[in-house]
Symmetry: C2
Subunit: 308 residues, 2 copies
Amino acid sequence: MPVLPEGQRAAELQPPVRAIDWVPVAGAPRLTLSSCELLREIQILDEYGDRRIIHIPAERPLTVFVDKRELVTLMTLGACPELLVLGYLHNQRLIARVQEVESVTVDWDVGAAAVRTHQGVQDLAAKTARRVVTTGCGQGTVFGDMMAQLDTVALPDARTARIRQSTLHRMLETMRQQDSIHRKAGSVHGCALFCGGDMLMFVEDVGRHNAIDTIAGWMALHGVAGGDKAFYTTGRLTSEMVMKSAQLGVPIIVSRNGVTAMGHELASRLGMTLFGRAANKHFLCYSGLERFDSEPEPQRTPVRVVAG
Amino acid sequence: MPVLPEGQRAAELQPPVRAIDWVPVAGAPRLTLSSCELLREIQILDEYGDRRIIHIPAERPLTVFVDKRELVTLMTLGACPELLVLGYLHNQRLIARVQEVESVTVDWDVGAAAVRTHQGVQDLAAKTARRVVTTGCGQGTVFGDMMAQLDTVALPDARTARIRQSTLHRMLETMRQQDSIHRKAGSVHGCALFCGGDMLMFVEDVGRHNAIDTIAGWMALHGVAGGDKAFYTTGRLTSEMVMKSAQLGVPIIVSRNGVTAMGHELASRLGMTLFGRAANKHFLCYSGLERFDSEPEPQRTPVRVVAG
């Protein structure tokens, strides 16, 4: 299993993870890339009484050990578990900088991710004591510590971090053309990081919380700032999705799906721009109009309502 | 706020919860029914530059206190928090019988659910020590204890617990006609409990884990057995959904959505019957064919693929 060198091309990562060239930050942890099957064939019976073979996404437990201490078990597709673990630790505020981590090693034979830190995690027990069960398609536990830190979120103002309708269209067209596990097998969520309409990274997982955590891990590993970026997610714009995006400093989120009240409240409070029901040239801008340069479509067509 | 008497009609519960007449089991806890807004109006800007008012589902934190000790914070629509809390405690195996609970009182002014037990919860700390972050649209934490108890699951055999294709059609037609928050606002998941094609209960929440927990609370409160029942869910058939259904003794699950590998594995191992992509007269039977009486459709029409 190759060790991630500087400048490795994302193409060497197994699908569905896609990313631009890497240049890890100085002192970045060693990530030994693991590999596993992402699709499984099963036989089904349909309404016509026909038996057919279809593909479904893999889903496997990954138990995370930090300095040999069990932290959590994540259910994941397994496309990029090292970045997922790194992003999980980062989003849960268990680490402040990736440099605190010496290495992340995943062993699928035992479904374990071994995280080695240089100096241990401060107050690990305390930081993981409280839990909030969130709405979002999956992540679920958001330690109380994270909620507390929301007020420290600082996003770039609306003059510097904006998005044009034409740029939004480019994002949606890119997603429309993106090959994906979802197309082959459904039942996964995708998340992508964009900069000015260009996709920097795309990842799918059985839980969209994993997808954004994986992108968070990629951003942290390479010191990628969020201020001039936008997220695309196939999942709903829940409080959790908004909080994670805010933590990463990304002020704009685009979703194929809808919004929940907490997601809307948080985004409004934090000055984030949310687009939902976004597909083809359709979208609804829920919040943060001040960051949006509207370039209205000339002719009316009915808005396609995607199941929330 | 009325106290739930024997025989209260579910019609008195606020939508979107629907259920048949209640007869709580002897020694059932007192549930004081709370009430809150389930929809919120927000103004959006669409692709044509038009500002419109739309509805989005409410989402609020509910912090559960068991005998004054904080247990967890659930993000919920708030349609039926008392049953949600009861079902959560039950599904997390924090209580074995509802009779252990004296009362559940929700105060939305402070977003708290006060659970009073008769004799306290055994080993509360130990039972909530480990966590598994699951795939499913939301629940997230499934305490390790629950995983351990999977092997104790006993479902009725395939001779006694079966489903005919025509019964499946009745379920899908009932769901198609069901009025819902989803229709008005999207972004919620629905879950329904069926017996022989008749809907016993339907509930929606921002996380489908909450929806099934609420039904679990309703079943526990009324001593409703799961062996002759079937679940309908709008969410994916993940390991979590399958585990919860198994815990409740319900051997058949129907989903508008797809299946993940762990969900499929668990269902196959437990002898449960899973139907996915189920809408109108279409479906895929993923597992547990031995419980299914196929009545093939005469003429072929393309299977509608619902986003997973």
